[in-house]
């Protein structure tokens, strides 16, 4: 079956005549097949939300995690091949621990992002290892510097964002995010807004099965520590979203 990149898409070591590396682009496609994850940089912290499709009624709630802690102060949300994401998180945890052992300071988020970026890039260089098929959102909150949110894609480009979405529904999510006034929003409000985007805009109830919301935050309230959003708050947010639907009807 011939596609656009035929002949130039076997290895990451081959450029196409128009200057593209198709294997890395195909890695992006792997991310686009996965369910959506959103990260918002609010005035007092960063909130992550992931739409988890429940594949089977036998699955225990809360397993198959998509958000991870690195150190105590940084959170990473993944989209794409979860196993690839976990590998990068393992590396991130090593980096954070080594930095802390060596310098006695916690690793600044922009340093960690830079190092993960370099790590991901290495896998786009050789023909015997494949690029990572996942995107990561990295978030942290610091008393002095405020909240920070970065996103690393399979091509290793790392950009800083106020609001970001990765995965299947990222286009619609990004449109909704751009309507929000993030600099004035608190994290508690962001929890509701993310729930709304994931439940209403991104999740297609007719096509897909039920979804589970996994949300985490690093904010002033958690004193700069990355934690899962309390279950009660998520339930309240879901109620609020349902209420909004009824209002519109």
């Amino acid at each position: 079956m011939s596609g656009i990149g035929t002949g130039y898409d076997l290895y990451p070591t081959t450029f196409s005549p128009d200057g593209r590396i198709f294997q890395v682009e195909y890695a992006h496609k792997a991310v686009e097949n996965s369910s959506t994850a959103i990260g918002l940089c609010c005035k007092d912290g960063v909130v992550f939300g992931v739409e988890k499709i429940i594949l089977s009624k036998m699955l225990v709630e809360g397993t198959n995690r998509r958000v991870f802690s690195v150190g105590e102060h940084i959170g990473i949300a993944t989209a794409g091949l979860t196993a690839d994401g976990k590998r990068i998180v393992q590396n991130a945890r090593q980096e954070a621990k080594n930095y802390e052992n060596f310098t006695s300071d916690i690793i600044p988020i922009h340093v960690l992002t830079e190092r993960l970026s370099i790590y991901v890039q290495v896998f786009t260089l050789y023909n015997y290892i494949r690029p990572f098929g996942c995107s990561l959102m990295i978030g942290s909150y610091d008393e002095e510097k405020g909240p920070s949110l970065y996103c690393i894609e399979p091509d290793s480009v790392a950009l800083g964002f106020y609001g970001c979405a990765i995965g299947k529904g990222k286009q619609e999510a990004k449109t909704e995010i751009s309507k929000l006034k993030l600099s004035e929003m608190t994290c508690k409000d962001a929890v509701k807004e993310i729930a709304k985007i994931l439940i209403k805009t991104v999740h297609d109830e007719t096509k897909e099965k039920e979804m589970e919301l996994e949300m985490s935050w690093v904010c002033k309230e958690t004193k700069g520590k990355h934690k899962l959003v309390p279950k009660k708050l998520i339930e309240e947010a879901v109620e609020w979203v349902k209420g909004q639907e009824n209002e519109e009807d």
Binding site: F102, T103, S104, D105, H110, E114
Partner: protein, 219 residues
């Protein structure tokens, strides 16, 4: 058991040690560090005008005592890493960071090293700080620290004369007289007194030559 080195190379193996006196003192606004200038190999003074005040970063210095080779290589490693980190992070390192890097090198390689370091400097977060890193690789933050063979003669002097939040003049006198006294009493220390004053404006280096050293009780 037969030890080749011990039997045949004992003379050649006498390390160049900095039999030394070094002091670092916090004052209101920064730190003052001071050292003597003698490097000895056995009873021969290899260098009588040594500079033991080694810069690690713009406003972080270290005072080296013990084996000259060991302390030189470690301070150049820490200098390398602090420079790399400051570029990566976009901000100058704190004295705490540099001191902890010293600790990591000293502790992880303790079997091979004979090095004690005092890391002192100024950063905007803590102001002036002094960290003492003795032989085993431990780290302790102190308002003042002394090191080297001559420091044994200064414990009484320091305990009686140190005050918190001294002015720059008081602190300068405190270290100058301290090193002078140690030079007088300790055979491993000698030469001139080298000082550096580190505060928010940077580093100012001073030297007190032998003939200008104050004479204490002497017949």
């Amino acid at each position: 058991m037969f030890n080749f080195e011990k039997e045949f190379l004992s003379d050649l193996n006498k390390e160049v040690k900095t039999g030394t006196t070094v002091m670092a003192v916090t004052f209101k606004g920064g730190v003052i560090i001071a050292a003597d200038s003698r490097t000895s190999s056995g009873s021969y003074a290899v260098n009588r005008v040594t500079d033991k005040l080694t810069p690690v970063h713009d406003q972080i210095y270290c005072l080296r005592s013990g084996s000259a080779a060991d302390t030189q290589i470690i301070s150049s490693y820490v200098s390398y890493y602090t420079n790399m980190f400051s570029i990566e992070e976009g901000s100058k390192p704190t004295v705490k960071k540099a001191a902890h890097m010293f600790r990591e090198f000293l502790y992880q390689n303790k079997q091979y090293l004979h090095a004690a370091i005092i890391c002192a400097g100024w950063d905007p977060i803590e102001g002036g700080s002094v960290y003492s890193l003795p032989l085993g690789g431990s780290i302790v933050k102190q308002p003042f620290a002394t090191g080297g063979s001559g420091s044994t003669y200064l414990y009484g002097y320091c305990d009686m004369n140190f005050k918190e939040n001294m002015t720059e003049e008081e602190a300068e006198k405190f270290v100058t007289y301290g090193i002078t006294e140690a030079i007088a009493r300790d055979g491993g220390s000698g030469g001139i007194v080298r000082k550096a004053i580190i505060d928010k404006n940077g580093v100012r280096r001073k030297t007190v030559y032998g003939n200008k050293l104050k004479k204490f009780w002497e017949k």
